[in-house]
């Protein structure tokens, strides 16, 4: 495919319906961040309610319209907010936003391809995502409000508008939006998989791929195998809601009436949901882990430690992620034997996770670390992955889960691994690959400020939640004030909410830096981080086809940093050796053992 320059006249196909992976990655990024910002505002709103229960706030009055009264939000709308917050953050920001951006940007560039296998499908993948985002936002404005049964939308609560108003039109739109979202995700994932397998340049064997590509590949495989199950769960829910079936419903008395559904079980939904739901969290996390491997290695001027073990551990995580879903369901009433099986598999997943952490630490050891904001966020990911990961050992053990299931302990755990680790990976990726996205550099000082405020305040938000959970405080509670035993914890809520507000404001620093730098930032050099992988061999300016002339041939793995000869001098005179540099006479490729 040769480079074409004739798109300058066609605004619609250059910027709107582009089939160029670089443009599509930016579309995913911006849409993802916009949705993420909305999710962030939602969390700020409900943190206002939790920190100062029942108090009146002008901003609540301003933003929440009929969902509030005198500046105090309605209890069922509190549930709508937490539901939409979860849905938007998990799917729209951390799945589409994270994978969509970086898989699209980096796969062709790092494997040495002109573009994705199908630019057309890629374009569709973005536009389906866009449409699903719009529909999801529209659901906030319908009668009865948006879906309100938690992001996990268990029926019967999500099936019956009589049970909560948001389960009316809002829930219908949620299901439509998610169905379209799933289509977007599947098309994208198929594209990524096919491209990685088929379009690698000469010399780019699978074991010379950067770990980002391995992460994106495994993520795409997870998506292809698990999202369809969510689609089927959603479809059956549509049938129960609109066509009188009873897949999930049986023996219900509500609003003074016995309903006509019989024979179904909500637990069926839970199985189908979590069959996606668990791989989903690894779909969220794996790209972040891949990005961190890349950045820590490059910025420490050292090879990533244990390249093959890193691949192996990602594969183990991916495989195991399919057989642990029941740990979300220990107390659903399913057969306790299943609980035992899932405890076993869940605690197993800790092993490859631990391997990855130790490998990151060993990569840093005796490195020569340059601290850009990307480096800081990658270090932050390792920190939060440890913090959030260890509490998984409590939750994954069924006997211990009895007292912490659905409490704030769980909220602390998953926010630290997703709301912190995964988003840190995304931020790190944006800071690090900004030169490839926009041809300009972000401001480091603002980036450092963004990092420090974010990590300190985020720990301030989520660490205390473990104590709340251990005190028995349930999640999704509008206020703690109805239980004397939770009296003392309202002040902890205030503590958390204050940090949450500051953390939210810190993101404004990032948005300012992002927009300013994209428009007026200093122009980037071709390889600002002195890195080895192929994306840094493409010219700064964007054009279809990525390389003028031939695509480079690859001769070595991407981790030859600080490789020295027997005298201790850098081979080839620099502390990095791009993949395009042929191997020397007696030189062995670092990826070969």
């Amino acid at each position: 495919m040769s480079t074409h320059q004739h798109h300058t006249k066609d605004f619609l196909f250059t910027y709107v319906f582009s089939t160029d992976h670089k443009m599509i990655s930016k579309q995913f990024l911006i849409t993802g961040f916009l949705m993420g910002f909305i999710g962030l505002i939602m969390s700020t709103l409900f943190r206002l309610q939790l920190g100062w229960p029942g108090e009146s706030f002008e901003i609540v009055e301003l933003l929440m319209g009929s969902w509030q009264e005198n500046g105090v939000m309605n209890p069922d709308k509190y549930l709508a907010l937490v539901t939409m917050h979860g849905t938007i953050m998990v799917f729209f920001l951390l799945t589409a936003g994270l994978s969509g951006t970086f898989s699209n940007l980096l796969i062709p560039l790092q494997i040495g391809a002109r573009d994705m296998a199908s630019g057309f499908l890629n374009m569709l993948s973005y536009w389906f995502f866009f449409v699903s985002s719009v529909i999801m936002l529209i659901s906030l404005f319908v009668e009865g409000g948006s879906a309100s049964a938690g992001w996990t939308i268990y029926p019967p609560l999500s099936a019956l508008p009589q049970a909560i108003p948001g389960s009316g039109a809002g829930m219908t739109l949620w299901l439509i939006a998610m169905s379209i979202f799933i289509v977007s995700s599947l098309i994208g994932s198929l594209n990524y998989i096919v491209t990685v397998f088929n379009l690698r340049t000469k010399g780019m064997s699978m074991t010379r791929l950067p770990l980002t590509i391995w992460a994106f590949l495994l993520t795409a495989v997870l998506g292809v195998l698990s999202f369809p199950v969510l689609l089927s769960a959603a479809l059956l829910l549509v049938f129960d809601r609109s066509f009188g079936t009873s897949f999930y419903l049986s023996d219900i008395y509500i609003g003074g009436q016995v309903l006509d559904h019989s024979g179904g079980s909500p637990i069926l939904f839970e199985h189908l949901f979590w069959f996606l739901g668990h791989p989903e969290v690894y779909i969220v996390l794996l790209p972040a882990l891949g990005i961190t491997s890349e950045i820590i290695s490059t910025m420490s001027r050292k090879p990533i430690f244990g390249y093959r073990a890193m691949i192996g551990s990602m594969m183990a995580i991916a495989f195991l992620s399919f057989i642990v879903w029941g740990h979300h369901m220990f107390l659903t009433g399913m057969n306790p034997f299943l609980g035992s099986v899932f405890t076993f598999t869940t605690l197993l997943i800790a092993i490859p996770s631990a391997v990855k952490v130790f490998n990151y630490l060993t990569t840093l050891w005796k490195g020569n670390i340059v601290f850009t904001p990307a480096t800081l966020f990658s270090v932050g990911l390792v920190s939060t992955f440890i913090s959030g990961g260890v509490t998984g050992l409590v939750l994954g053990n069924s006997a211990l889960d009895i007292n912490v299931h659905d409490t704030y302990f769980v909220i602390g755990h998953f926010h630290i691994v997703m709301g912190l680790s995964a988003i840190f990976g995304m931020f790190a990726g944006v800071y690090h690959w900004f030169p490839k996205l926009f041809g300009r550099m972000m401001n480091n000082k603002l980036g450092n400020v963004h990092f420090w405020f974010t990590i300190v305040c985020s720990y301030g938000v989520f660490f205390p939640m473990h104590f709340l959970g251990f005190a028995g405080v349930p999640r999704r509670y509008y206020t703690f004030s109805e239980f004397p035993m939770f009296e003392e914890m309202i002040s902890i809520n205030e503590f958390i909410s204050i940090f949450a507000i500051i953390a939210m404001l810190a993101q404004l620093v990032f948005f300012f830096n992002f927009v300013y730098s994209a428009l007026r930032g200093p122009k980037a050099p071709m390889n600002p981080w002195r890195a080895n992988s192929l994306e840094w061999t493409t010219p700064v300016e964007h054009f279809h086809g990525n390389w003028y002339g031939e695509i480079p041939t690859v001769y070595r793995w991407p981790y030859d940093y600080s490789k020295v000869d027997s005298n201790g001098d850098y081979l080839y005179g620099e502390d990095f050796i791009p993949q395009t540099t042929p191997l020397g006479e007696n030189e062995k490729d670092g990826g070969e053992h």
């Binding site: 049986s250 024979g263 630490l361 490195g367 104590f467 239980f483 300013y516």
Partner: protein
């Protein structure tokens, strides 16, 4: 009015910020530097901040323990709760040092190995020995946790054998309250179905069923005798709820369409626990712990644990459905 002020302030901040950034870029250029290059000095100051953060994070952890560890639930009020609390302590005794040590290593390395033009990084790409060590060590630890956990889990989830003396209670959740149904002397719960709900018969007990004759429906609070296993059968009338009794280390979803079960033996009476926690208004409580609608945050029922005699007296005062 306030809104306009906020918007104008935001615009001004953006304009000022942009100008400041432009100035910073030009200043760097005038010194012959590139603004986006991290100088050795800048890198080292981030390294110092990372080290401070290490102390800060660890300090924050200990401060939280000091401030909030005392807020955790009191000692388990059920027999099986002891094993759970023990396993919990063991788990935390493992993960806390891991959390602390790995953070010290992480952040100390960041500080120690911050970029210096005088050093070279070490090209150290793999070690099968190290990988084996940190694969096997976690595996061993996890094996212990799994074995302990599953032993407890199996015991806890086994229903009370029917020959054993026990109290049989059906707890029915609905938006937004609980109903307890005591099985009475026949130790059997009468059949029930939502289609039979009417008036006082709030959970649809089949009054024609002989086993239902001595069933007693109780609302607001329910009582348990000390030291006697209680076998719960859970139901829901509308959406999924969850019966959470944190003091007893007990929780089980209430699912419309099926019944679920959980059992425990109370080991501390309400009176005794009031003394233990130093609060004579303390009560055990049953909370809903699965999102169930608007008033999910206030779906509760008190639980009183008392001596066998007090319990018998209380139960005798409760009316059967037939009455």
């Amino acid at each position: 009015m306030m809104t306009i002020v906020v918007i104008i302030t935001a615009i001004l901040i953006v304009i000022v910020g942009s100008q400041l950034l432009k100035i910073a870029e030009l200043k760097a250029k005038s010194k012959g530097e590139l603004i986006y290059e991290v100088s050795e000095k800048q890198g080292k100051s981030q390294a110092v901040i990372l080290l401070i953060f290490m102390f800060g994070l660890i300090g924050f952890f200990f401060w939280q323990m000091y401030a909030w560890y005392g807020l955790r639930l009191p000692v388990s009020a059920s027999a099986h709760g002891e094993a759970i609390d023990y396993l919990s302590d063991v788990t935390f005794l493992i993960i806390t040092p891991v959390f602390l040590l790995t953070h010290v290593v992480l952040l100390w390395f960041c500080f120690k190995y911050a970029y210096s033009s005088k050093r070279k990084a070490l090209f150290f790409s793999h070690s099968n020995k190290l990988e084996t060590v940190w694969t096997v060590a976690p595996a061993l630890v996890l094996t212990v946790l799994i074995l302990m956990g599953l032993t407890s889990w199996n015991e806890i989830m086994t229903p009370v054998p029917s020959e054993t003396e026990h109290v049989l209670i059906e707890l029915t959740g609905q938006q937004f309250n609980w109903t307890a149904r005591y099985a009475g002397d026949d130790k059997k719960l009468g059949r029930s179905h939502v289609s039979l709900i009417e008036g006082v018969n709030g959970t649809g007990v089949d009054l024609s069923d002989v086993d239902a004759k001595d069933d007693k429906l109780v609302k607001g609070e329910f009582h348990l005798p000390i030291g006697v296993p209680v076998q719960f059968v859970f139901r829901s009338l509308d959406v999924i709820h969850s019966a959470y009794l944190p003091h007893f280390r007990a929780q089980m979803n209430c699912v419309p369409g099926i019944t679920t079960q959980f059992n425990f033996t109370p080991t501390i009476t309400t009176e005794e626990m009031r003394i233990k926690v130093g609060n004579d208004e303390f009560n055990y409580v049953l909370l809903c712990n699965k999102i169930c609608g608007a008033a999910h945050y206030n779906m509760q029922m008190d639980v009183i644990v008392e001596s066998q005699e007090d319990y018998d007296k209380w139960l005798a005062e409760q009316k059967t459905l037939v009455e």
